[in-house]
């Protein structure tokens, strides 16, 4: 059935659609949100460490070996659990990160990972970082200590992996 519209209806519909257009047009890109001051940049901390086995391997007695299935015969029993990793990071003597990262996995035998983002002010910054693991073999420590020039237009990435700390970006 064809609808014949009166003038009021036509004007009303035009206004309605104009409002729809205005709302769509405006809110599809406004208002803008501010994420960071112009004089700041971001320090991204990425931790991805294989971890270290916490306990030591113990030899199995003959009796214990006999109890094992044929396909699982072995001379020593090595634990799977890895040690947690304590990481401390400070910038200009102010601690920004202090966490003990636990190994992933049900048996605590997976990778140790974390990711954090911090705000860094532009200028010269003194970054001190340490990562400590305690195992049966003793304490393992990775350290990082450097002064860097922070450029507000470049991100600083501090990575911790099996090779220790590595800071890249932002040397320009």
């Amino acid at each position: 059935m064809n609808q014949r519209l009166g003038r009021t209806q036509i004007i009303g519909q035009v206004i309605f659609y104009a409002i729809i257009m205005a709302v769509l047009g405006y809110f599809s890109s406004s208002p803008e949100i501010t994420l960071q001051n112009n004089n700041d940049t971001s320090l991204k901390l990425i931790i991805r460490h294989s971890g270290r086995i916490e306990g030591k391997c113990e030899p199995l007695s003959k009796l214990e070996q006999d109890k094992l299935p044929t396909n699982m015969q072995r001379l020593v029993n090595c634990p799977r659990q890895k040690s947690p990793l304590k990481v401390i990071i400070s910038v200009d003597d102010e601690m920004i990160y202090n966490a003990t990262i636990k190994p992933s996995g049900i048996h605590d035998d997976g990778v140790l990972a974390d990711y954090s983002v911090f705000t860094l002010k532009a200028g010269t910054r003194h970054i001190v970082a340490s990562a400590i693991t305690n195992t049966h073999e003793g304490e393992f420590v990775d350290r990082y200590n450097a002064k860097i020039d922070v450029n507000p237009n470049h991100i600083v990435v501090l990575q911790l992996d099996d090779n220790g700390f590595n800071l890249n970006g932002n040397n320009e």
Binding site: S28, S30, Q36, I46, V117
Partner: protein
């Protein structure tokens, strides 16, 4: 309060839109329609999009600026149609919530709709991600932070966006897979969402359809969608323009933290999902009557299939008759039936002309039999002593009709106007002396039971069986579809009828 606000808004728009064009009555339909627009424009964009870190941004710029005659239009239509879909879906959710269209068997439509919110959100975010501008950069970092807050994530996804070197073309393959796969899942979900309802409208009435497309096209021409600066993960983002229709929670992630926002969103979704359950327990406490279910009487069911055709909730199917050879018989699926009674209105067996004292229906609502309704109507009309007798029939979801009872007017109310058998109007007018019948109920285009008004109107003009049989009876029937709060219109219509009757006399 919310119902009042909603009804006021609907009545306001009814001044400018014919009822069937009212956008607030067509929110679900508009959502489907906009999805089709997004799908069609998306297919075009997909043809020219390059899935690589280096070329993704360039390909979108090429579509926008080098194909300016159509590329920019298609891209902008794609964006604005999806943004408008966010609006219609949200309004549709709130409207169905306010009007309690989740009770009884309608729980399925409600609960199946909640996951669609997530799929719609994921589809839209995926689309913005593909452009690979600073908005996409913001989406990458914030979405990764949100997902990283899930306890099942071992290695933070955000590591994948630490700098430009960390991102490869494989990520784009994943993105395009997601942006095709998730909308397909959304489409499947939408089909499931409408599974238990009949005669679904996926395209709105012509006027509304044209108006929406015209508005989107004009907006796309006047204010085309443009990319921001190319994404550069080596540089920090100082500020960014976001789409507030889909990314409205993203600024919250920065202020409240991703875990808190994730919990908030999951909590809201969970709460919305259990709305029918909450309603069920609340209603039990208020001792409201249980939902009525239609029951088939095989003795009077001749297998015509009219109730099957009319049921708005696909709650009826036909099977071989229990004892009549070569006949079918209706069967009610109790879990789908909401007790609207439209099936009873469709049954030809209920005609009072055969045997008034035994107006047995092949299908009926036991708690509200049509034979009882007829008896009640007959009794009330016999009590009218005035010269002119007017019968007003409405529904429980429209305007309360008791206020219109007078010396020459009596009223009846049904669960749905579609429940009124046309043969009753024939009988009451021809045998009981009714001079005029006024049908009223929900607003046109907004029947609480989806298609009661449409079905009854078609019965009146012989487009649907059963129909009003006698031409002189058809002339006595008037209709005014107002919804609740239509006192003025109904009073005016009754006055008009009375004037016509006086003139005729």
């Amino acid at each position: 309060m919310f119902t009042h606000i909603l009804k006021t808004s609907e009545r306001f728009l009814n001044h400018f839109f014919p009822s069937k064009w009212n956008p607030l009555y067509n929110l679900g339909t508009l959502s489907f329609y906009l999805f089709f627009i997004v799908l069609a424009t998306g297919i075009y964009l997909f043809i020219f999009f390059e899935t690589s870190v280096v070329h993704a941004y360039e390909s979108v710029e090429s579509i926008t600026h080098e194909q300016f005659y159509i590329g920019s239009l298609i891209r902008s239509l794609h964006r604005y149609a999806s943004s408008l879909m966010a609006v219609t879906v949200t309004l549709h959710l709130f409207r169905e919530l306010i009007l309690r269209r989740y009770v009884g068997a309608r729980w399925f439509s409600w609960i199946s709709g909640i996951p669609l919110l997530w799929l719609l959100f994921a589809s839209a975010i995926g689309g913005y991600w593909l452009v690979w501008d600073t908005k996409a950069q913001y989406i990458s970092l914030t979405t990764a932070a949100l997902l990283d807050s899930l306890p099942i994530i071992v290695e933070p996804m955000a590591q994948g966006f630490v700098n430009n070197a960390a991102i490869s073309d494989r990520f784009f393959s994943l993105l395009i897979f997601m942006h095709v796969g998730v909308p397909l899942a959304l489409m499947l979900g939408m089909i499931i969402h409408i599974k238990r309802i009949n005669n679904v409208r996926m395209i709105p009435s012509k006027g509304l359809a044209i108006g929406i497309v015209a508005a989107l096209v004009i907006l796309s021409i006047l204010y085309p969608a443009l990319s921001l600066q190319p994404a550069d993960f080596d540089k920090p983002l100082k500020s960014v323009e976001i789409d507030w229709f889909y990314m409205n929670t993203y600024p919250l992630i920065q202020t409240l933290g991703p875990a808190n926002v994730g919990l908030l969103l999951l909590g809201i979704s969970g709460l919305l999902t259990i709305v029918p359950l909450i309603s069920y327990f609340l209603e039990k406490k208020r001792l409201e009557p249980e939902q009525h279910i239609a029951v088939v009487d095989p003795e009077f069911c001749n297998g015509c299939g009219w109730c099957f055709a009319d049921c708005p909730y696909e709650a009826i199917y036909m099977k071989p008759h229990d004892f009549r050879k070569n006949h079918e018989q209706a069967v009610v699926i109790n879990d789908y039936c909401v007790g609207c009674g439209i099936c009873a209105g469709a049954c030809p067996s209920v005609t009072p002309f055969k045997n008034f004292n035994e107006a047995n229906s092949g299908i009926d609502i036991p708690e509200f039999k049509m034979s009882d309704f007829l008896l009640e109507s007959k009794k009330k009309t016999s009590q009218i002593k005035s010269k002119n007798k007017i019968l007003v029939v409405g529904c429980h979801h429209g305007t309360n009709l008791l206020q219109f009872e007078s010396e020459d007017t009596t009223t009846e109310s049904l669960e749905c106007i579609g429940q009124l058998p046309p043969s009753y109007m024939d009988f009451l007018c021809r045998r009981e002396g009714i001079d005029a019948v006024l049908l009223t109920g929900c607003a046109s285009g907004d029947c609480y039971h989806r298609s009661g008004i449409e079905i009854q109107e078609e019965r009146l003009v012989r487009l649907r069986e059963p129909h009003v049989k006698y031409a002189d009876v058809r002339e006595k029937i008037a209709k005014v579809w107002t919804g609740s709060g239509g006192e003025k219109e109904i009073a005016a219509k009754i006055a008009e009828i009375k004037t016509q009757l006086e003139t005729k006399a």
